[in-house]
């Protein structure tokens, strides 16, 4: 892959992240309550000297632009995101750290499952267009696409947790439980993970299947597929070596573009199942008007999406030789 392609992609991502920090900065200045609340709220018995030192470090004595922004940027990059208004004495960074892993697990596994299943289903549907799998699959995908994730979650909760009692109804682990060994703990974790994971997975599968399907249908009408047929190659070979590699390209792009929207869904799924991740944190912070934490979540999620997009760009560069020059 050419250096300039990589450089361009990295540069673009970096610039977007800078814009994100800028938005955060604007919000930081605009939100109710002076900035000092943000940087010192949790600390008890603040002396005027400490206050002044903090003001210096965050540049609050300097003109707003560019000095304050640069200071803000510096603070953000070094991980100093201020203090939570709500959590006693905890920095935003600490609060985020506590809640990040459950989200990574839920969301990461959900994406993985959805990508594998969705692409497979979509490819098969497109290949056997008009067949039973296609018609049924397409209908279900469209309906899933119109359904908010949390609604799906509530329905699953009702049927499988309340109704059939196969799974617990909330949380990540049973409250107050003690475990004889790691396997018991893991088992409890998995049974709690099952429904939220199914919700995220189902929500995503529909989108990915639809995109992959139309991508395959488009690819199958290209001249090089006709040529491959003309060569007498088997249908399986044509699908694997000619159709799929080309159909993946727009699919990867669309998966990346979608990431921003999926975040909304992931947040609400966590709320439905009381999954202790960034999503529930965001809603708690919202209810309590804990702006520093909210901004921290915004920063973290936005940067993650930008990085994920960058990753998708790199994958795309591997798959499509035309962009590498």
């Amino acid at each position: 892959m050419s250096g300039s392609y990589l450089a361009r992609r990295f540069g673009s991502a970096l610039f977007t992240i800078a814009l994100i920090v800028l938005v955060n900065f604007v919000l930081f200045r605009a939100l109710p309550g002076s900035p000092e609340r943000v940087i010192l709220r949790g600390t008890p018995n603040v002396t005027p000297a400490q206050l002044e030192a903090a003001r210096e470090r965050w540049g609050l004595n300097d003109p707003v632009f560019p000095d304050q922004f640069v200071a803000f940027l510096g603070a953000t990059v070094s991980g100093d995101l201020g203090y939570s208004f709500v959590a006693r004495g905890q920095t935003v960074g600490q609060v985020l750290a506590q809640r990040i892993w459950p989200t990574v697990i839920l969301f990461g596994l959900g994406e993985l499952v959805a990508i594998v299943l969705g692409l497979a289903l979509g490819a098969y549907s497109g290949w056997r267009r008009g067949g039973p799998v296609d018609v049924v699959g397409n209908g279900i995908s469209l309906i899933l696409y119109s359904t908010p994730y949390f609604l799906l979650g509530m329905a699953l909760l009702l049927v499988f947790a309340t109704g059939l009692r196969w799974f617990p109804t909330f949380g990540m682990l049973t409250a107050g439980a003690t475990y004889p060994d790691i396997w018991a703990r893991l088992g409890d974790f998995v049974s709690h993970l099952a429904l939220p994971l199914a919700t995220v997975g189902l929500g995503l599968v529909g989108q990915y299947a639809i995109v992959m399907r139309s991508s395959i249908v488009e690819t199958l009408s290209e001249d090089y597929v006709t040529t491959a047929r003309g060569m007498g190659l088997s249908e399986g070979r044509i699908l694997r070596h000619h159709a799929l590699p080309n159909a993946l390209l727009p699919t990867v792009s669309l998966i990346a573009i979608n990431l921003g929207y999926v975040v909304a869904g992931a947040i609400t799924v966590e709320v439905v199942f009381n999954w202790p991740g960034l999503g529930t944190l965001a809603v708690e912070a919202l209810t309590a008007r804990d702006y520093p934490v909210l901004q921290g979540v915004f920063l973290l999620l936005s940067v993650s999406v930008v990085l994920a997009n960058l990753l998708a760009d790199l994958v795309y560069g591997v798959l499509d030789p035309r962009v590498r020059t």
Binding site: I20, L27, S146, P148, L151, L158, T169, Y261, V263, L294
Partner: protein
């Protein structure tokens, strides 16, 4: 890109309506178009005159059911924890959800169209800067941004009980926030169309006779992107309803003017799924799915009709 003068078709004069009715007729001829339009007509009727169908919105004071009771003869969709009739709430929810969706769509499409047309037509640095901003909004998770913006703007605006078009200010704030965060994909689509229109001969013709940029944009470009904007608006509407629902679900709705999303939030905080009270969240949920599904069908069909290249494909 067509070579200058390679394919000329007369531009639609401003204000000509025949093109749009013809589109509607062709839309309804398709089964998915007919189904979608039917669903939307039903919900539009409910949204425009909810009082006619179920009487005024019930409050905790005027409620007369029993708490969280399943569907019965008197209450076909059961009751909520404030003893209110779910059917009443759901139908009134239609008005709130659809109204917010409509207003948010207007804001979104307006911003998107202005940015798209200006960016595509003027080109150069203006285009580069506007597109950078647009791409930014496309990448970031705008939902989280909305989460932050809404309480800030609400606190700025104050919490009186003024209403615009019968919608309380708290919800108008949501309209604005949705508009601010959702305009970018419309902008991109409209910019594409503007770019290809810019190359057409009739634009050069207007320039030659001395028409200014603003004039050209308004009288020549705009009428020709209207069809595209209409098709795009339908899909934007679906997105706006979903976004409003989600924002309400996380607590930004208004309990005094419950939209479907707000009803779902209430259902969750009461623990309806855990209690087995399916009638609390299924009716508003089904309504949401139906409306979004219908809009998506219609939007897709319109897109097919306006995009002859894609006809006969999937």
């Amino acid at each position: 890109m067509t070579a200058a003068g390679a394919s000329w078709s007369p531009p639609i004069p401003a204000g000509r309506r025949v093109g749009r009715f013809d589109l509607l007729v062709r839309l309804v001829r398709r089964p998915e178009g007919a189904f979608g339009v039917l669903i939307l007509a039903i919900f539009a009727a409910l949204a425009l005159a909810p009082d006619f169908f179920v009487g005024p919105l019930q409050t905790a004071v005027t409620a007369h059911g029993t708490r969280l009771s399943p569907p019965s003869a008197a209450f076909p969709l059961g009751t909520d924890e404030l003893r209110r009739d779910m059917l009443n709430l759901t139908v009134h929810g239609a008005r709130v959800s659809m109204a917010i969706g409509l207003l948010a769509t207007l804001v979104t499409v307006f911003i998107g169209a202005v940015v798209g047309i200006v960016s595509g037509f003027v080109g150069g640095r203006v285009d580069a800067v506007l597109m950078r901003i647009t791409d930014f909004f496309l990448v970031i998770p705008t939902f989280v941004l909305a989460l932050i913006l809404t309480p800030i703007i609400r606190d700025l605006v104050g919490s009186g009980s003024t209403e615009i078009l019968g919608i309380r200010m708290t919800l108008i704030v949501i309209v604005i926030v949705i508009g601010i965060t959702s305009w970018s994909s419309s902008a991109r689509i409209i910019r594409s169309q503007t770019l290809s229109l810019k190359e057409r001969a009739f634009v050069d013709r207007a320039r030659v006779i001395g028409a200014g940029s603003g004039h050209i944009m308004r009288r020549h470009i705009l009428p020709n992107v209207i069809n595209l904007i209409v098709a795009n608006s339908v899909l934007v509407f679906a997105g706006a309803v979903l976004t409003e629902t989600t924002l309400s679900f996380v607590g930004l709705g208004d309990p005094f003017q419950p939209s479907w999303g707000q009803l779902l939030e209430a259902a969750r905080s009461v623990g309806a799924p855990g209690l087995g009270a399916w009638w609390y969240f299924v009716p508003p949920g089904v309504c949401i799915v139906l409306v979004v599904f219908a809009f998506t069908l219609v939007g897709g069909a319109l897109d097919d009709l306006l995009n002859p290249k894609r006809r006969g494909r999937a």
